[in-house]
């Protein structure tokens, strides 16, 4: 079966006063129907440009964007408008019509389609119930909180009965608790309606909570992609490591210059108290710099950052010991430094 989204050799650059900026450099990937696909990158990595190329809000300079087996770049204006109706999009700043109440906001895409007013209102109310906002039908966006606005935006997208929902930093303006509730709503929608979801974010936590697959963007290039577990357990590129390791353990690198390792273990190996056993087996303590358990698409994964003893040989033997017990070990001799501490989102 053909993937629902297939991007090939996509390139896009912008002219700015400082010269040409390559926002997307020869990007290729595909997304299968029903996936929740995350695209992660630091600010300026080209995420927003990439997601805007998936519904041609941004027209790529070259390459191919196939959605539902249809090459978007070869469509006429009218055909593209039609195609966009099955590709919903939600935004960081919600982008609701401020002069319309909640119900009429959801009616808007239906008006575009030419659905009659009565029918539109009926359907809009149904979707409002889906997102749990039926009590606010008559409220205006200015009277809602951020999370409520995003729920309305999601209902508005659902009203078009899309096959794909693109989320452009949809939770970046929300607090962590609201972020979690919006993400679970998206996950629920993915499950109930089988809608493919593409999530753009700079936060690893978002990817971990809902995504099945992830692609890592760095300076306009797609440097790595795979299942969330694969990327989380063994990130191959510097950019991926920076995002993943950085997401939980900022500042660890600044503590010492000693040998540091990152270990990842799944449900299986976490039954055994590995760290305790290492300490007992070698008679030398290791220093736990950071530890966390994360939920990766439904199954737990543990992550720790350890400082090994000064003695190089003991350190090597500890790594071997851990690897024998199916723990993924990675040496962090070049822990990302200041790049992390300065990171903020646009």
């Amino acid at each position: 079966m053909e993937p629902i989204i297939k991007v090939e050799h996509l390139c896009k650059s912008f002219q700015t006063k400082e010269g040409t900026v390559d926002a997307a450099k020869d990007i290729s990937f595909s997304i299968e129907k029903g996936d929740i696909f995350g695209i992660i990158g630091l600010s300026g990595a080209g995420k927003s440009t990439l997601v805007r190329c998936l519904n041609l809000l941004e027209r790529p300079d070259s390459g191919s964007v196939r959605v539902n087996g249809q090459e978007l770049l070869s469509l006429s204006e009218g055909q593209l408008r039609k195609a966009r109706q099955s590709i919903g999009m939600i935004f960081q700043h919600f982008n609701l019509l401020m002069q319309r109440n909640v119900l009429d906001n959801i009616c808007f895409p239906l008006e575009i389609r030419g659905v009659s007013r009565g029918e539109a209102r009926k359907r809009a109310y149904e979707y409002l119930k889906t997102v749990g906002m039926e009590e606010k039908a008559r409220a205006y966006p200015a009277q809602l909180s951020g999370g409520q606005k995003q729920r309305v935006a999601i209902a508005r997208v659902l009203a078009n009965e899309p096959q794909i929902i693109l989320c452009d930093e949809a939770t970046s303006a929300l607090d962590p608790q609201t972020t979690r509730s919006i993400l679970s709503l998206l996950q629920q929608i993915n499950k109930d309606y089988g809608i493919t979801i593409v999530v753009i974010t700079h936060e690893m936590a978002v990817i971990q909570q809902i995504c099945t697959h992830v692609a890592v963007l760095d300076h306009g290039s797609l440097v790595e992609h795979g299942t969330v577990r694969e990327i989380f357990e063994s990130p191959k590129t510097e950019a991926a490591r920076r995002l993943i390791i950085g997401s939980g353990s900022r500042g660890v690198d600044r503590m010492t210059g000693r040998r540091t390792i990152r270990i990842v273990f799944d449900g299986q190996s976490s039954y055994e108290p590995v760290i305790g056993n290492v300490t007992l087996a070698f008679g030398t303590p290791v220093n736990i710099m950071y530890a966390a358990t994360r939920d990766l698409g439904g199954s737990a994964a543990g992550e720790m950052i350890l400082q090994l003893p000064e003695d190089r040989e003991i350190g090597d033997r500890m790594i071997t010991y851990l690897r024998e017990r199916k723990v993924i070990v990675e040496e962090l001799d070049d822990m990302p430094g200041d790049e992390l501490s300065g990171e903020t989102e646009e």
């Binding site: 519904n55 408008r81 982008n95 609701l96 002069q99 319309r100 008006e111 575009i112 205006y140 200015a142």
Partner: protein, 223 residues
């Protein structure tokens, strides 16, 4: 004494007031008939509009600027042939409407353009992502979302046209301006001059209040 004054001049002042209102409101209406499309086209064809078109934007931009820089009194005289062709005569309140509309349209175009440009780019993008076409975006997003600002614009425009209409009095334009010139200036009847000014001020205040009230009523952007 006051009674005597109003017995003598009351009917004339009342008629002048009605003439002024007639000129102002009709000119505002036709000004928008021309100016609203100008403002919309300027917004849509601008560089970051929904249908950028450098040529259309530049041409319209220059025409608007040219018309805006001609002083109203000069315009009033310049368009006399056109006025005669449309209204049949070059004096009186109806005749004043022609230059008023020509002077107001480019000004209105700019007001509309600035109102429409206040609409959040993201909301337009959201409409595009739903498959909305250009006309849907113009009517259901741009004009609908900017309505408060557009109505404030109407209020400002009405006030400005009211002022211009009084100016037209100098060349026999009719209305309160005409009365003020003929009686207050040529015949040194300061009392009439003052009364016309008071009426003009009151008219501006009332129009302003009505405009602001409606635009506030229609604004849902505040919690």
């Amino acid at each position: 004494m006051i009674r005597e004054f109003f017995n003598q001049y009351g009917p004339m002042l009342w008629e002048g007031t009605l003439d002024t209102l007639y000129m102002t409101l009709v000119s505002t209406f036709f000004g928008y008939v021309l100016g609203l499309p100008i403002g919309i086209i300027l917004t849509v064809t601008d560089q970051d509009g929904i249908h950028p078109n450098k040529v259309v934007y530049r041409v319209l931009d220059i025409i608007v600027n040219l018309l805006r820089s001609v002083p109203f009194l000069i315009l009033l005289i310049l368009v006399i042939p056109l006025t005669k062709a449309i209204v049949g005569k070059s004096y009186g309140s109806s005749a004043t409407i022609v230059p008023l509309v020509i002077a107001a349209a480019p000004f209105i175009g700019r007001m509309v353009e600035s109102s429409l440009k206040e609409v959040d780019r993201g909301v337009i993008e959201a409409a595009q992502s739903m498959g909305a076409g250009t006309f849907t975006i113009i009517f259901k997003v741009l004009l609908a979302e900017a309505r408060t600002s557009l109505l404030v614009g109407v209020t400002i425009v009405t006030g400005t046209i009211l002022g211009y209409s009084a100016m037209a009095g100098t060349v026999g334009g009719g209305g309160l301006g005409d009365i003020a010139i003929r009686f207050g200036y040529y015949r040194y009847q300061t009392d009439i001059m003052i009364v016309t000014i008071v009426i003009l001020v009151a008219l501006v205040q009332v129009l302003q209040a009505i405009g602001m009230y409606i635009s506030q009523k229609l604004d849902h952007r505040k919690a």
